[in-house]
Symmetry: C2
Subunit: 263 residues, 2 copies
């Protein structure tokens, strides 16, 4: 039988206070807390465990709507995104999606579809988010639009690999993005510079869509595809609002994104 | 601009070969590969990164159907489950679900429902899996049923907390499990011993359901609840087949489980 100590979470840290000076009884002094070395390490481990849990919960869609990453996870999220781990995760999801895509029997009538989201799915906004605390700052749509207008978002290489693979297999590719119709030309320019081509349709938010939650807007567009006779066999996105709702894909692939949440 | 080295994945290890002996040009010899110390560390880090990626891909439902955990992740999965991380993850999902449950406006007509899966959701089979490599062995239904019949599966404490919370808020609680109808009495005994009570209905697999995939069986049971007028507001399960399909819950909560996959 295993011991169930694992459910005794967040043990209280024992704090040791600095030794009192003779004057300490007389003069007011700031409260100085000194952690013993082992408690410091425990604290570091605690933060890592908490941030790991938070990231897992984000990726599994367990976290309630959030506006910024937890303050204490700022270093953790930066390290994840600028180190190797994010790349490993992107590669893994691309590979699994590719295996699935290759295993699907296509009808050959041109109605087999794969949907890709754009931001943090095909194109990376890391250069922008690196300047804005990797999700620590509240999203600023004006600043972000300036970045989008530069059309400089780099390719997410494992997604380009998958993109070319599904095209090669004979899927119709739909790009379904939360970007505005006004950003069509910069988006096309950025996509082409990044190596993407031959998509069937690029769907952006029309004026009527701006007030809608992403999950509603994207569901409506998928509903249309289904009405037009398409079979949505695959869907790749970094937000659960890309993947859930109506006319869901047979299989969905969730790309990692610990920086922001779109409802 | 960030460097995009993060997309250069799985760098090839530089291998150093043992110095050749004078006889090496003459006799065939086994190829001996010696990693320099730094490469050994790199290898360890590589495995950790790969297993981290694998685990996140499992939890986000990106991995194609699998029968056992990857061989190279055996130590990683054991450490995750027997250390603190699994407990942190269970606690996180319970807390987020509790916040959501508390925020929902209930109708008060007794038709607001929350569904819980049982294995690895309310009850833990870790004592069984600890004896079977934590997912490294192919699932053995005969052996597993013997374990279930003991009715000794320990409570998952953070789930009991959530369970009592949603009951207290006025939800009807349905338990929807892949266990067989034949295991009803041991299941009830185990649940009660573990502290669960006052569920509205315990739904187990009838004879007709045994050939069905879990996702189909569970969808059919949810369809019935909806036909009976229930609003499924929350659903907690450790498998995506508990959560996806038809009559999906308004919000789903995915508990961690890196040990096995049920389609």
């Amino acid at each position: 039988m295993l011991s169930w100590r694992l459910f005794l979470l967040f043990p209280l840290l024992s704090l040791s206070f600095s030794e009192e000076t003779p004057a300490s009884h007389v003069l007011p002094r700031p409260l100085i807390i000194e952690y013993p070395a082992s408690a410091k390490e425990l604290d570091g481990e605690q933060v890592r465990l908490q941030c790991d849990s938070w990231r897992f919960a984000v990726e599994a869609n367990n976290v309630n709507p959030w506006k910024t990453i937890p303050q204490e996870c700022a270093d953790y999220v930066r390290a994840y995104l600028t180190g190797k781990a994010y790349g490993f995760d992107l590669d893994k999801v691309s590979n699994e999606a590719g295996i699935y895509a290759g295993s699907v029997e296509l009808s050959g009538d041109g109605k087999d579809a794969w949907i890709f989201d754009i931001d943090e799915t095909l194109l990376s906004n890391l250069p922008y988010y690196a300047e804005h605390g990797f999700g620590l700052e509240v999203f600023d749509p004006v600043e972000f639009d300036k970045w989008v207008d530069k059309a400089e978002a780099p390719v997410i290489q494992p997604s380009l690999k998958l993109y070319e693979q599904v095209l090669g297999l004979g899927f119709k590719v739909f790009l379904l993005t939360g970007r505005s119709e006004k950003q069509r030309s910069v988006t096309v320019e950025n996509l082409i510079d990044a190596g993407f081509q031959n998509w069937d349709k690029l769907i952006l938010r029309a004026t009527d869509d701006h007030a809608k939650r992403a999950v509603v807007y994207k569901s409506e567009r998928r509903d249309e595809m289904v009405r037009e006779g398409y079979r949505i066999l695959g869907n790749s996105g970094d937000q659960w609002s890309d993947l859930l709702g109506s006319s869901m894909s047979i299989r969905s692939f969730k790309l990692p994104n610990p920086m922001y949440y779109i409802p």
